[in-house]
Every structure is written in C-alpha cells, then in structure tokens.
Symmetry: C3
Subunit: 339 residues, 3 copies
C-alpha cells in the first residue's frame, strides 16, 4: 500500500496530462467525488455527478475531458473510470493475513499436490488427490474435497467449499461462503412421495479469471460438467444449477438464478434477481434485466425484461398501456353508456 | 465405482429387454443423449430430445418404447428416466474423502454420543449433548450446536451449521453452507427504532429422507418447531422462516422463500424464486410457479402463478389480455374520435 | 432457563393484572395460542386468532384487553406482544455451548486484542490486529480477517466470515453463514470480455444493536464504507452491495437485495424478495412491499409495490384494472362490431 503519491507520480503511472494543479501536490487517498477529502483523488465519470464537480473537496479529479471544478488539480486521461481503477490499485490497503504459508492447523491430505508459494489458512482442509497450481491462496476454514484441481494464482477466500472433482482455471477468485460442486437438484418423482435421487455424477469446471461472489451455489452436473467460461463475473447469492453452461465474459448480478441445462452465451449481462428457466438458450450479448423471468430462448444482443420476459421495448410498451388502462376503462364505460 | 459393464450386465440389473445391439457391448460411462461418447449409455425421455436419437454418438440408449436411433444398442425398460437413475448409481465416481473415522482435528464434546461407523471430517465441531445415529457423515468444518440430534445414515456435507436443538430424522442429506436453526426474524417494533428481539425458543425438526441443498436457511421456531416432512427435497438458497410447517414429499426449487408460520401440505411443488407470505396455507398437491408471489391460501391441487399469485389459467388469460392492450387502446381512441 | 413459574410471579415480572385464574397456577412453558398445552402461557395479539380464544388448551393467556377464553387464567398487560417477548425471555432454553473461554483449537493471532469474558469457539480464526470488546462470543468455525474491530457484547454465530477491516458496534448479532466485507461487484467492462476488476479498497461499518440473519452478504465499499445503522435488523439471505448506506431501525425481510450506492433512510421496512437498484434514495419510513422492484427514489413514509415499484395505491388500482381487462376487451369488441 502506498501512503502518498504526488500528482506527477500518479500522472506518470496513468499516462495522462495535468490540466490544472501542481505536479507536486501530495495525494494520500482515493475516494468518490462526493465523499472525497482534501488530500484525495477522485474521478468524474457520469453526468449524474456533474453537480459535485463544483462542490467536491477532493484535491484532484480524474476526467476524460476538460471540466470546471472546485478541485485544485485536474488530470486528463483516456478513460477516467479505468484510471480510477489503476489509482485504487496504487492505494490498496494492506489486508494481508498475519498467518503465512501452510498454517499448522490446516489439514492437508498427504496425497494433495500443493504448488509453490501457496498460502493455506488456519483450519482449511484439503482432501486427497487435490492439485493446486503455484501461488494459490486458500482462506481459513475453506474446504476442498477430493480431487479438486486449481490452476495457478487462485484466491479462495475464507469458508468456501469446493466439492470433489471441481476444476478451476488460473486466476480464479471465489468469495466467502460460496459452494461449488453441490449436488444438482434431480429426483425421479414418486407418486407416494418417496422421490428417488438421481446421482449427480458430473462436476463443475470453471475457466480462467472467473470471479464468483459470496454465498453463491454452483451445482455439479448429472453427467459431464457445469461450466463457467473465462472472465465471467458473478456477484453474490447466485444459483447456477446442474449442467448449466455459461460463456465467456458475462456479468451476473446478485441473487440471479439459472435453472438446469440452460446455455448462456458470451458477454451476456444479467441484472439482479433475474431468473432463467431450465433448458433455455441465451445467446451472445443478450441483456437480461433485473427481476426478469426468462421462459424461452433469448436472441443475440437483445434486452429482455419482465416476467415472463419479453423484449424490453415490448415490456415498456405494455407497461405504458397498463398505466393508461384505468382511464381507458372510464372512456369505454362512458362510450358504452352513451350509446 | 464401476469402470465398465456389458450391455447384458446393465440389462440384467435393470430388468429390461435388449431391442438392438450385442449383449457383450462394453459400456464405460453414462451421459446425456446429446453429449454421449461412443462407449456411453444415455436415455431418451422426452420428445424435446427426439432429434438427438438419430445423431447421438452413444453406444446404447435406454428407452421406454421402441425407437429408431444411431446408437448401436437399444435397451427397453419400463421407465427410462428411472433406469437412467439406476445406471448412474452403477457408475457413481469415487469421491470418498481421504480422511477416515473421526478426524483428530474434529472437536467432539465428551458428552456427545456418536453412533457406529461415523465419519467426522477435519475441523468439524460437535457440541455438548449431541446424539448421532449410526453411519452418519459430518463434513469438514461443519458445526453441530448443543443438543443436536441426528438419526442414522445422515450425510451432512462440509461447512454446514446445525444450531442447538435441531433434530434430523434418518437418511437426511444437507449440502454445504446450509444453516438450520438460526433465529427466526421477530422483533417488537419500537417507535424510536430500538426494536426488541423476540427470543426464538423453539427448534427445527426435519423428517426422514429429506434433502436440503446448499446455502439454505431454515429458522428455528419462536415456540414449538419449524418442520420439514419426510421425503421433501429443497434446492439451494431457500429461506424457510420460523414456525413454517412443510409436509411430505414436496419439491422446492432454488431461491424460494416461505415466510413465518405458513403451512405447506404434502406433495406441493415450488418453482424457483417463488415467495410465500406469512400465515398462509398451501394445500396438498398445489403447484406454485416460478417467481410467484403467494399472498393468500392456495387450494389443493391447483397451480398458481404471477405476483400476486392467481390460478395459472387466470394469470395466462390476463397476460394475453395485456398483450392485446396497445391495440385495444388504439381501437378505443378511434371509436372515441369517430363519434 | 426457568422450569416453572407461578402466574403471580409472571404477573409481577410483567407488571400486569390477573383478570382470571389463581395466582398460584404453575406455568411451565410458552407457546402460541393454537399449539399451547395445559401448562403453557400464550398471548392473544390479533383478531386473526380470535377463534382460538375459545379453543386454546393454554393455562394462561396474555391480553391487552379483557377477553372470554377457554384458558383458566387471563393476564391483562399493556402490550400483549411485548409481554409475550418478556415471558419468552423467562423461559429461554439453555443452548449454551459445552466449550468455554477461548477453545484450544481456535487460532488467535498474537497481535489480536481480545476483551474480557470472550468466548471463542473451536476452529474459529482471529487474524492479526483484530480488536474485540468485552463479552464477545465468536462461534465455531467463524473467521475474522485482519484488522476486524468488534465492540462489546457481540454475538457472532458459527461459520460466519467477517473480512478484513470490518467494524462492528456494540451488541451486534450475526447469524451463521453470513459474509461481511466481501468485495463489491465492480469491473471496468472490456469489449474483448477481459473485464478488469476495480479494487474494493473500502470496508463495512455496522452500528450498535444491529442483527443480521443467516447467509447474508454485505459487500465492502469501493472507497469509504458500506454502512448499516443502529438497531437495523436483517433477515436471511440478504444482499447489501458496496457503498450502500442503510439508516437506523430498519427491518429488511429475507432475500431482499440492495444494489450499489443506494441510500436507505431510517425506519424503512422491506418485505421479502424486494430488490432495489443502484444509486437510489429510499427516504425515512418508506415501506417496500415484498417482491417490489424499486427503480427510482422513494419518498418518505410511502408504501411502494410491484415491479417497477409504484405507490401501492397505484399498483392496486392498475391490478384491479387488469383484472377487468378481459371483460373490457369483450365490451370494446362488441361496440366495435355494433357500429
């Protein structure tokens, strides 16, 4: 963690241009434009925040085009949001654990292969035949079942559960409380109610640079694999059912659920609390609005919303029509009476 | 785990009839009809998959009636889906833990009574006065509070929490991250905002052969018990509030929530992300469609959908009417102008 | 835990008046009016339960006004629900752990400062530079990251994860499986799908007397803090995104999600499965009905419902209009034909 940097040092790091302010100004923190203090740098990225340009107490503001602002320093960059990201990296607080290496209270089965520079926290459990690439970090209390495979540079936070035969690529991040590889929900219904469980013989395969939030559940496949593609990012409390196949570079917001065997293409975006039925295909680049209930295939690139989900323009049009309905009913009643 | 079986061996196990193919054909795996490889057996269970009958690469297909297929072998059985279940059992992969018995790192209170053939994983914790029947398996990092009672043959996966006084029947399966016996949500509201907690003095009682998915929450009762009946199956991320009473043989899909004191009969089916208010009665055999918001009692055997939930036929009829609404509004406007 | 009390002892404790029954009657338990046994005390708090007054098997009933009842004893109090709360406290069952003090299997970093009378359960982990006030209880398997600060009298149940730099006030209760301080969901989207993570440099600050249910997720802020105000109560499986600021004395029912940077005032009530978009302001005393989807600011004191959420009266009016729509369409068709 950096304690302070000059405006020039930050500018050199970002490759930007100082539009206003002294290169020697000392920055000690990063903040939002509304909450910034007098030694902070912030960014201006959306017209929603224009009002704060003249009231911010920040010393410096990152912008993508020249602005008038109460901040002393203005730093012009190509992409203010991406520059903000880079500056946050410069000021990442030290949150390192006080425990190092493989903690003595961790339980690592002798058949597990642990790569170099591993950090395995207290009370973590690594079962037989696990394989961890180099530079993996396993948080306290996390459990890896038998035969779990991790690539390199994975970060498994505390109290995560990766069940048997789960496979992770490189640079995968999994947040606390998430469960990967729980049994899919499959039973042969019985008329007397004594439903019989379908064994879930498959596993979960997660690609490179995937990030999965906290308290998610990713079920293993009946046969074959439940899959999440490279660079896909999941928020918290998300359900991914057995045999779901999610593509590359998707964003899935919190509390979304995707039912069994559904296929999600590349670059698909889900708003929060969306739900998708089973055996559905969502094609590349589609956008599923928050709280949508998707009941049939979604074409590439379109936005759907509502429950049942329809093209967003249709949902809006029907919603507007419903808003006018009480007035229309009055009008119809009048016309009916007049006759 | 079986590595391979002949078609005849599988046929003998299932009690079916070989319609096509050699009894000596060697099967090495189980798969879906679309993903099967040349040594796999699969099943054909729905007209949705008819197209795959002629393209599948499977060696063998389980069917409930004769079909024409690209697979070499065809095995006729009474119920293809149930036969698939049985074949999956034959080929269940070995996911056994490398740790055996009560692991030395598990913490078992001396007053706990542990049945024969127990498996208690590393860093599991069993508090005072717990009683476990024979052949129970407690996963790594799971915690059983004081006075928890388990019947026989229960499987508690890793990182599960069963709080004090929780009672489980026989053959209960609980997946990772699930919490049973957390306090119900009850407070006496205070006008100054200093709400006072209602002690939750009750517990949770779960019947025989219940399966609960990952990261669910089942709250303890205020007084008496929150109950889940025999053979009921819960998917992941489900909320069951205090004093809810769920009957026998129900299916509850992921992310459903059931509010306090609601009574669910036998054989009720919930789609995903359904919500049920408090103090409601859902009668035997009702079906609650995905994303429904149930605000009043549901009669036996009917299907409800929508928010607020109505009989499904009504929801469909209103939905169809809304779809026509923009056109109707145009028509009314015209009629109004013409007059 | 009390095994039994006389009616007089209970009456003296509550400060009420015995309207019927002997002061020497012995009460051995607390129950609901419908489930009470012959030695139980219950309360009558809502006209929903009037029918049970004449059928209850309870020995005693707490009432706020005189009633006719099958119970032998009637105890008049100012607020029957609050009296019920107090009686439940008298009969709280003993669920104490059999482990005491700091369990030898807990891993406490030497730099952590643990207040007096701490209970730290088996396999709990407390990382460097944590500070716990006096009389805190940390459940088995819970993990506190580096620099976590707890006030006094906090109860952290089992298998909770508090990530680095989380700050809790006094008398905070956190139920099992909850994750506080996981990274917020922030990425700079990349057209090739290789999205870049925004470091989440902030933390979570939770006020006094806050209670958080099981398996919730409260994300840390990008910069600054995600905040939950004093006396606010969260149910289970709730998502609170980064930089959300929740006021004082709110109630949030299960499976609700609040997206990033949204501000919730004081005394706001959320029904279950509600969703609120990002960067929204919900003012003091607003009520968000169950399953609402809030897409814009909500004024103080109003109730909103539906998706998109509107004032509840509007939602009801539109719902009633839609219910009439099929009939209206028939009428319009007739009128159109008649012309």
């Amino acid at each position: 963690m950096t304690d302070s940097l000059t405006l020039k040092e930050i500018c050199d790091h970002l490759g930007g241009e100082i539009l206003a302010g002294s290169p020697d100004s000392v920055i000690t923190g990063v903040s939002s434009i509304q909450d910034a203090g007098p030694a902070d740098i912030c960014y201006y990225g959306s017209s929603r925040y224009t009002g704060y340009l003249s009231t911010t107490k920040a010393m410096a503001v990152l912008v993508s085009k020249p602005v008038t602002t109460s901040a002393d320093c203005v730093l012009l960059v190509d992409n203010a949001y991406d520059a903000f990201r880079k500056v946050l990296h410069l000021f990442v607080p030290d949150r390192s654990t006080g425990f190092s290496g493989v903690h003595p209270s961790a339980v690592v089965h002798p058949t597990a292969e642990i790569g170099k520079e591993a950090e395995i926290g207290p009370c973590a459990v690594i079962d037989r035949d696990c394989t961890l690439g180099h530079n993996c970090s396993i948080g306290s209390g996390s459990v890896l079942g038998s035969g779990v495979i991790l690539g390199s540079d994975c970060v498994i936070h505390s109290n995560v559960t990766l069940l048997a035969d789960t496979v992770l690529g490189n640079k995968v991040v999994i947040h606390s409380g998430t469960v990967v590889g729980s049994d899919g929900f499959g039973f042969v219904p019985d008329p007397r109610g004594e439903h019989k469980k379908i064994p879930q013989n498959g596993n979960v395969i997660i690609g490179n640079s995937v990030e999965i939030g906290a308290n998610c559940t990713i079920d293993r496949a009946v046969t074959g694999s439940t899959r999440i593609g490279d660079h896909t990012k999941l928020d918290n409390l998300i359900q991914v059912a057995h045999n779901v196949c999610i593509g590359r570079g998707c964003f899935i917001a919190a509390q979304t659920g995707i039912a069994g065997s559904t296929v999600v293409g590349n670059g698909v975006v889900f708003g929060g609390q969306a739900g998708v039925g089973g055996h559905i295909v969502i094609n590349d680049g589609a956008v599923i609005a928050a709280k949508s209930g998707v009941t049939k295939d979604v074409r590439s690139g379109i936005t759907v919303s509502g429950n049942p989900a329809r093209p967003h323009m249709v949902t809006l049009r029907l919603g507007a029509a419903v808003s006018r309905l009480p007035g229309i009913i009055e009008l119809v009643k009048e016309m009916s009476t007049e006759k």
